[in-house]
Amino acid sequence: MNLPENTPPAVPFTSQPITPQSTPPIEHLPDGYDSAAPVTGKVRLEAAWGSTEGDEDLTVSDTPAPISDGQIFKQQYKQWNGELNPRWMRNWAILRHHLLGVFKKGHRPWGMPIRLYLLVVFIASLSDVGMTLLSGLIGDSGLHSIWGVSRDNLYGHVLGFFPRNMLYYPVVAALLVGGVISEDRQHGTSALYFSRPITRFDYVGMKFLSVAIIQALIILVTLALYYFAEIATMGRGWAWIIDTFPMFLATVLSALLLIFTYTSIGLSLSSVSKGKFFPGIALLSIVLGTKVLAFIVSNLFDREILYLISPYDCLAHVGQAIIGTQPTYDQYSWTWSLASIVAMNAIALYVLSTRVSSMEVTRE
């Protein structure tokens, strides 16, 4: 005799409280209850069902049938038979996500202050372009001698300390690297990447490239515009171009070195953090703090060697050497600065790779 689980109880439900008179007579009292004990419906029910819950207030339960409103949303799984593209397309997706986020919605959401600052810096970086155009238009040779393309001005466009390497480029780098990797730790979005066929190298490589490209748009594009503005407004011929192009390429190389260094240090800081604030502030502290420290030591003790710990000064020293401007660091060779830059980047990339390798898929 297999009774179903919801077998109705022997005593019918009633809306009235159950009284002793309503219970059937019994011949044997259950264990633990003697004949002298007061006979109440509650006790008998308890004895019968072995529970004290819900027996006291038995009422007729009348649950109305649910009213059908009709089905508006029908859940239907749709299959997809498309082909997945190879590795380069996945990497392009990461790059595109970060780059296009600066310009339009639907991609990586860069904050509005960051976008505004990038715009301001881009426009400010065009100051020498504007002045070159102006000098060409009004034909003022004095103005052109100050703002026109020269070794010093090319150097100044990329590596001049004030305002570009004090207010523009390090701040841009700090704003860009702030959340690029740290937000993946913060929001757990690293799981989205690594549960897909994305390697750690691709992940960090594309993030690096996207941050570097945004900086390059500001530094290199304005540098190129500056150079071409000179050609266009001053009517420079091939002779001038052949003469100055190596100088321009050396400046491009210096700019690439600067972008790479700021990005690698910034991303390594981003990879050790879960917030946006720390990487940005730490990058500014490293770039500007070491510069200030080295400057103070140089002035007080006439020792320039501390500039070797300053990324900016090392970049400037190497830049001066390859562009060919007057060197401002006299006490040691520029190769020391180059070695220092290599060491800084090596350390930064080591930290970056180690931290990215430890990023988890299952939990962070």
């Binding site: 109880p9 264990d31 979005t189 066929p197 939990r363």
Partner: protein, 336 residues
Amino acid sequence: MQDDLIIKTTNLTKSYGPHVALNKLNLSVPKGATGLLGPNGAGKSTFLKTILGLIQTTEGEGTVLGLDIRTQGDAIRSRIGYMPEYDCLNPDMEAIHQVRYSGELLGMNPTVALARAHETLQYVGLGEQRYRNIGSYSTGMKQATKLACALVHDPELIIADEPSNGLDIAARNYMIETLTNAVKTGNRSVLMASHLMDDVERVCDNFILLHKGKLAAQGRIEDLKGFDREIEIHVWGGASRLEELMISRGMNVRREGRVMRILHEQEDTTSLILRCAADVGAQIRRMHEYEASLEDLFLSIMENLGYEVKSSEDLLASPSLARKVDAPEHMGGGSA
């Protein structure tokens, strides 16, 4: 039969220094829905990372969808949809673009990924909410978005890690229905790691139970529940006498007050119970087949394995009388 397996491992071992996270795991997971069970530290996360091809195994081998977990991790991850337990969404992005980006990360063309994102968000019930920022979503909506990210490329295997984590009853039911629908109508396979046995029972046909990196049991949930059925009776009068008599007649009895459960070993067990009741003059007020929930079975297995679990649901928790529910050998258990 081999073609029906989505995951197969042989002596799969993963060690972190002296700590053995997975210990000679031999698994055969068929197509369909499978629940991955186990207490904290059982090795579930390590197992998931291993089958995703994210970590190198120390020893042993395995295949997922016929691909080698040691050498074809990228190909495996292209064909798997992974829904992580924890947050993995950018709160400043709209759901539609988050899902689209998930598709692009798999190599989908941006236009195709966007179209597919619309479809999957519609499927998980966020069709009308897809242009809202994820930061403004409820937990249930975030879980649904995570599922949409996993489904965007129509994977053959969906790995859902605690899919109903933190959801209220309505959202939980919806999530379970959605996963079930993907299995039943979408013909996809699901590997679902969860602590909620009820959810696993509703979605999955099969289960894997890990304990301290070892396979404790695996097989069909129905088989596990079916091989050890009991009859539950509610006795009025003479319960102690009835219990003694039934035990003396060789029946396997557990008792809590006036409720007893007798192992349904023979076809005439119900007749024997009624005869015993008549002999001692006890009244049986209710008698029905008792089907243990998966949670009961899980708790019992864990107790047998030495894992102390307390649950209010464990009606008959007396350790001395707790029945043995080791999985039989043909289901992969027995030796744990």
